[in-house]
């Protein structure tokens, strides 16, 4: 049992040679940092697929009528795009990549509570992804229901729904296991002296997220299972022909999928809450308020699912209840925005790439969130529901929010993860193209939605043409920025300057260990004294 002392503490996790070599030393490693990178590379691959599908859709929509594909392909493309992006990228994204990498280090632990389970979650994730992808490659045609799998269409269509639905179910399971692991880790493995009120904000958001993963995911699990049973045996639960209620399917789907949007955004907010103080060199403004708002979002976010169903035929009572709850959940988000901005007040701000990404995050998040208010009000939602306005809302907030935060985070923690600096000039160039392209891509969709263009439309009337052209052009600019950013990161991981342990003068624990961190993070578990804290500059 003396094995632990055999691990040399001066070897970082990238160079460490364990029992296995090569690829095996990665896919069999239980080191949380290696698992994080496993997730990152698998997600990157899937993400590229999703991006290409997105671009294909935009290209199709550049003009009315057929451009590059037929309606069946278009329907399949947005379904697979949505499924990949939601279930495989943004829901597991930040927790699985940055949570895995940083959570143990930030709370002063050597690993997560159940390292083997952690590796197992990755395998489950891959299994789910493979299942979904297999539905594209084999069988009677790519699923074409949209990522929402609404009944009864999802069991009427002749396409290959079973593997896709089951894959989504499996992916949910992976996300449950990760959440479980994180909660136990945070409860049990905090460094001595690190009380709950000294827990950095990113772990706090992971904690909130993990609870939603745990409590919401099973509901969609069972729902998707029932849809599969329905397709296989016709048990009748959601089939109106057999007395089932398709609206009940929507309830169950959104009971998960609304909280899921907070699974996506909370860790993103957490990363921003780390980045803003570091680059302002200032204690975060309103630590308690940010923590409370995190928990409040997680909690209230559980009860607002009905705002996706305002036209589905709920009772009036349910409609205005959900509307008012939706408005309440906007308040904690507002609190966070105010606190971030106040953190900059009287700070000493250094303009680095992660900070640019973080500020643009706040900007696009505000647009996305505020457009959410338009959707939350009854009269206006009835008008814009299922139009391009909704598409603009969620791209601004899902991909604007989570995507921008992801890039802020990857630049911020890049030196820690790979021990090298990225090239600053290229990173900034990438950002500016991305940002401008992003606005050009999605802002026109708000306009289209207000004009009344429905979503999931392969073809459209002439009056929607000009805005669509602008949007397609924007998608190219943004992709250009994305390509620069990604290439720059890949190159820098190999040839960038060697990075110091703490390039940004951050105060959380991950900056106290060498870059890249050694295999077990800490030689000696740090101990927090009374005056220590994550943001004491």
């Amino acid at each position: 049992m003396q094995a632990s002392s055999q691990i040399p503490h001066d070897v970082n996790y990238l160079d460490y040679k364990g029992k296995y070599k090569g690829l095996l030393s990665w896919i069999l490693s239980t080191d949380h940092k290696r698992i994080a990178l496993l997730y990152m590379f698998s997600m990157m691959t899937l993400f590229m697929v999703g991006v290409c599908l997105g671009l294909a859709m935009k290209l199709e929509l550049i003009a009315p009528g057929k451009t590059i594909m037929g309606p069946q392909d278009y329907n399949a493309v947005f379904t697979v795009h949505g499924v990949i992006m939601i279930f495989m990228i943004v829901i597991p994204g930040l927790p699985a990549v940055f949570g895995n990498f940083l959570l143990p280090i930030m709370i002063g632990a050597k690993d997560v509570a159940f390292p083997k389970l952690n590796l197992f979650s990755w395998y489950v994730y891959i299994a789910g992804a493979v299942l979904v992808i297999s539905s594209v490659l084999f069988g009677d045609g790519t699923p074409d229901t949209g990522w929402t799998f609404y009944a009864p269409y999802s069991f009427k269509t002749g396409t290959n729904m079973l593997p896709a639905i089951f894959g989504a179910f499996v992916l949910g399971f992976s996300s449950i296991l990760t959440g479980l692991n994180f909660i136990v880790t945070i409860h049990r493995l905090r460094a001595p002296g690190m009380t709950w009120r000294k827990l950095p904000l990113f772990p706090w958001t992971l904690y909130g997220t993990a609870w939603i993963q745990l409590l919401a995911t099973p509901v969609v699990g069972i729902t998707l299972l029932l849809v599969s049973l329905e397709r296989l045996f016709g048990i009748g639960v959601f089939d109106p022909a057999l007395g089932g209620d398709p609206v009940l399917y929507q309830h169950l789907f959104w009971i998960y999928s609304h909280p899921a949007v907070y699974i996506m955004i909370l860790p993103a907010m957490g990363a921003i809450s780390e980045i803003i103080p570091t680059f302002s060199q200032k204690h975060v403004f309103g630590y308690n308020a940010i923590v409370v708002s995190t928990l409040a979002i997680a909690f209230v976010g559980y009860f607002v699912w009905g705002h996706h169903m305002f036209t589905a035929g709920m009772s009036g009572t349910a409609q205005y209840t959900f509307s008012i709850l939706t408005f309440l959940v906007a308040i904690p988000s507002a609190i966070k925005v105010f606190n971030w901005i106040s953190t900059m007040y009287k700070g000493s701000i250094s303009l680095e790439t992660p900070f640019y990404w973080a500020v643009s995050f706040i900007f696009v998040f505000m647009i996305g969130g505020l457009s959410g208010l338009v959707l939350g009000a009854l009269a206006t939602d009835v008008y814009v529901h299922d139009t391009a306005f909704v598409v603009a809302h969620f791209h601004f907030i899902v991909f604007g929010g989570v995507g921008f935060s992801f890039f802020a985070a990857i630049h911020y923690w890049f030196p820690k993860m790979f021990g090298r600096m990225y090239d600053k000039t290229w990173a900034n160039v990438g950002w500016i193209f991305f940002f401008i392209g992003f606005l050009a891509l999605y802002t026109p969709m708000f306009y289209l939605g207000l004009q009344g263009m429905p979503r999931r439309y392969y073809d459209y009337l002439e009056q929607f043409h000009s805005a669509n052209i602008l949007s397609t052009l924007g998608s190219w600019v943004m992709t250009f920025g994305l390509v620069i950013t990604v290439i720059n990161l890949f190159r820098s991981a190999k040839i960038g300057e060697i990075a110091p342990a703490n390039p940004w003068n951050g105060k959380t624990l991950e900056w106290t260990v060498p870059s890249p961190p050694p295999v077990e993070n800490f030689d000696v578990i740090p101990v927090y004294e009374e005056q220590d804290g994550p943001y004491e500059y």
Binding site: V247, H251, F303, G306, S315, T321
Partner: protein, 94 residues
């Protein structure tokens, strides 16, 4: 270090609990065979809740564990209840 000594529950306690559970089961069978209309559902659910309370506190050791687990359980059940109630805002008022 952490492995605090467990509270060892005597067999006797478990036996009593089982007896209580069986009694509740019988009672619920009896009650539901009388015609009570809408109350039948309520009665059956009441007994089920009593039974699950016993299982949770004794068989599942909540009584002897640290309080935060109990808090978590209560919290989860509350969330679940709230979800059902809010769902019924739709069906009840349709």
């Amino acid at each position: 270090m952490e492995n605090e000594k467990h509270h060892i529950v005597p067999y006797r306690t478990y036996f009593y609990i089982l007896a209580a559970l069986l009694v509740f089961t019988l009672l619920s069978i009896e009650v539901t065979s009388i015609e009570l209309g809408g109350l039948t559902v309520a009665a059956a659910l009441l007994f089920a809740s009593l039974k699950s309370f016993l299982v949770l506190t004794y068989f599942m050791h909540l009584k002897f564990d640290k309080p935060y687990i109990r808090i978590m359980v209560v919290f989860v059940l509350m969330i679940f209840l709230a979800v059902i109630i809010i769902t019924f805002f739709d069906y009840f008022f349709r």
